[in-house]
Structures are given as structure tokens and as C-alpha cells.
Symmetry: C2
Subunit: 244 residues, 2 copies
């Protein structure tokens, strides 16, 4: 049967790719993806055939992958992080209904929440919510509702897409929502370029986070009531009755 | 400097381990962990030295690892899934304050949310909340509050530890909370033994989930308003204004 793999390649560094992802990229006939992600794997698999499409052409990218697989080639579509977390896995299944002869397999990868957490310390040790601040496909009111609900119930919150050129004040607006329920001194962390050249992190308070500049390569973590700084790292305890 | 790695080995199958995790386990002097997780890697690295401790002795396990590293050995503590998601990373930093000469590095892995999602289809494509139903370290009232908040704000919800022998009715109780805000026909999925022998999944409604038996090897996914079944798989669209 013809097959398309949707492969999460992790945050950036090759070493954060799974053995399965590497094996599939090694053995497939064609690697398809958004230019930036394809460039991340091109060095590792220089002899491969690549097909890139610009941003915002996600549906076309899926169709190209499925069309090529239908012709009998083994195709891998690459996504940064996890293909199943704000990735292309969903759209591939939806467009895949037009290609019933092509099997779709999702290959999970390390998402920015996991990758970023390991850089900061251990912020996600207990219940957490993952929220994207991009309002390209979601009304901002819905995003605010989720921020408030997550803060009210004392989730650790991990923010994807905290800002972009057009949305420079979104992180500030998000912090204002979170501050309705979370303390100003809540321990927060930001990580830039996870697993890539120039990786950096900073630990700061929620009040400080509000006035922090971020970009689309930044992932943001806001602690729960119990999150603390341990030896310079951001650490959330396992629960409320934790004893050592 | 002496070093302890806290390594997430992924859900189970060796292929879902990252290249980095494999390299560290290959090169370290000692692998420490809970018996079940150590057994998962013992086959792959048969020549290694292993040290296991039973469940509930997490603090002791961290001390053993840090003590051995202090003596100049390179130690890797293994956790299933991601070391930073309900894993040992946090406790290691906390106990690590007693061992200032030992550096701690977290190596992220594929957590059950990512691994299970890839089996079901693409349920986590948009904002989601991860909640453990274990009340060993968290009061049940807090868990219910988080379930209600996540349901109210239409998050996709991923449940870890949905039940155990002592907590056989916890998933039912959780579904009752979620049903206060989510429709009975909300698309849900359960995955057993992710990446291990006997991996299986089922897609069902929230009403059906309420009466479903699970165990500690099951991960549960509850969709948002938009989650649907596409060609037998559980798929959440990327957002509310999604068009193809």
C-alpha cells in the first residue's frame, strides 16, 4: 500500500529526533515540508529528494505528498516538534480522505513543551495546559477564555506562538488574563531556539514576563502555585502532598 | 564535573527513543530506574550496569543516582515517556541541592500524550490540557476543578493515570465533571500499551468513555467541540476558521 509518514523531527537538533523518525527519513523516497523544516533535515540526509512549499500552503503540501505516494513512492512529510501538536497530522488525515489508497502514519516527535521544559528544568512535572496565542485560526476571545480557565484551575501553562511581528502585544495581553488568577511573582520561564544554534533561556516572574519581548522561536512557561526556582532552574513539584 | 542525566525513554518501543537518549544510555556507566522502566532498556543495552528500586522509592532512587555520580561515574536515570512530564526531573533537581558538585541534565522523551495521539490519529492539533487522575499527591477536589476548567474552555483533554486497582471509578467520576460542559457525543479515544506489545486503541463517545474500564497502561483523550472521526481516526482541526 502507498504510504505517507507525517514525521515530527523534534525542536531542531538532530539528536532530539527519534530513532524511528531517522529511520523513516533515511528510507523514504521523498521528503516534503515547509522550507525552514526541510532545511533542518537537509544536512543530515543530503542525498534525499526534497520538495518544499512556503508557509500558509499547508493543504497544498499535503496534497503534493499524497499525490506522490499514490504514484507508488514512500513519502515523509516533516514537521518541527511533534507532527500531532499544532502540526500537520490532522490536515493530512482530512485531505487524505481524497486519497483512500494512501495509508497515513503519524510519527511523534519531541514537542516544544517537552524540549523547552528540559532546558528550563522541570516546569511540567504536574498538570499543564498548552495554548497557542496565534489567532490566525482561532478567535482571540476563545484564547482569552482558555488562558483564564487554565489560570483559575492553577495549571502550569505553556504558550506556543507567543508573538509575531503583527501580534507584538499578545503575550502582554495573555499575561494580563493570567494575572487575574495567578500571583505576580509566579515563576515563569522562556526558551528561545530550543535545540538549535543560539538556544537560550530566562527565568522570570509573571509580572516581568508581561513586559518581555518574544518572537516566533520562543516558547513560554508559566508556573503553578507551587512552581519554584531550585538552583537556578524552574521546577514544579509533583503534587500538593509531596514529601521527601 | 560529575553528571546525572534524567532520560525520558519514550512510551516503550526502542524506536521511540531519541538519538540523544540512546547515545547517553550507551555511554554512561550506570543506568538507574524503577524496575519496569529498566527492564524496557535492559534488552537494548545488555552489557550495562543497572540499579533498580521499587515504586514509591523515588527520592531514594534520586539519592542513589546522585551519590554514584558524586563518586565520578556517569549516571543515567531512566523514566518512561518524558522525564519532565509527571517524571523524575523535578525531584532530581530538588534532591540535587544536597549534591552541588553533580550537574543535572534533562533529556526529553516522547510523552504518552504525543505517543498516544499518534496512534489515535491527531487529537492534539489544537490547545490541550494534560491532567493526571492520580490523587496520591493531589487532592481530588483540585483534580475536579481542573477537569471542569478544561471542559468549560473547550480544551482537548489528555488524562494520565485514568485508574488503578484502588481507583477503579475515577475515570467515571472525571467523565461526569467533563459532561457538565462537554457534549455526550464528544469524540474520545483511549490507547493501551503505547509503543509496547499489545498496543491497542478505541475511539468512542464521552458517554461511552464513562463506562469504560481502563488501567494504569491506558492514556485517555477527550476531544474539543470540533474533534471528529476522519476515516476511523480521531482528528482535531487546527482552529475555528479552518478552511482547505
Amino acid at each position: 500500500m502507498s504510504k505517507v509518514y507525517v514525521v515530527g523531527i523534534g525542536p531542531g537538533a538532530k539528536k532530539q529526533m527519534t530513532l524511528e523518525a531517522e529511520e523513516i527519513l533515511q528510507s523514504c523516497d521523498l521528503i516534503v515540508g515547509y522550507t525552514v523544516y526541510v532545511d533542518l533535515v537537509r544536512e543530515t540526509f543530503p542525498e534525499k529528494q526534497f520538495l518544499t512549499t512556503p508557509m500558509r500552503q499547508e493543504a497544498k503540501r499535503c496534497e503534493m505528498a499524497l499525490e506522490t505516494a499514490k504514484q507508488g513512492k514512500c513519502v515523509a512529510m516533516v514537521c518541527s516538534g511533534d507532527a500531532g501538536v499544532y502540526g500537520m497530522a490532522g490536515l493530512m488525515f482530512e485531505i487524505g480522505t481524497k486519497f483512500p489508497e494512501v495509508e497515513i502514519e503519524i510519527v511523534p516527535g519531541i514537542t516544544a513543551a517537552s524540549g523547552g521544559a528540559s532546558v528550563l528544568g522541570a516546569p511540567l512535572i504536574h498538570d499543564f495546559a498548552v495554548i497557542s496565542l496565534s489567532d490566525l485560526l482561532t478567535p482571540w476571545e476563545k484564547i482569552e477564555k482558555r488562558l483564564r480557565a487554565a489560570a483559575m484551575a492553577d495549571f502550569v501553562v505553556c504558550l506556543y506562538n507567543p508573538s509575531s511581528k503583527k501580534r507584538h502585544d499578545y503575550l502582554e495581553k495573555a499575561c494580563v488574563c493570567l494575572l487575574e488568577y495567578k500571583r505576580e511573582d509566579t515563576v515563569c520561564g522562556i526558551v528561545r531556539n530550543i535545540g538549535r544554534t543560539g538556544e537560550s533561556y530566562k527565568i522570570l516572574s509573571l509580572e516581568e514576563l508581561k513586559y518581555t519581548e518574544t518572537d516566533m522561536f520562543t516558547t513560554v512557561f508559566i508556573g503553578n502555585e507551587q512552581t519554584k526556582i531550585v538552583n537556578g532552574r524552574m521546577v514544579t513539584p509533583r503534587g500538593y502532598r509531596d514529601v521527601q
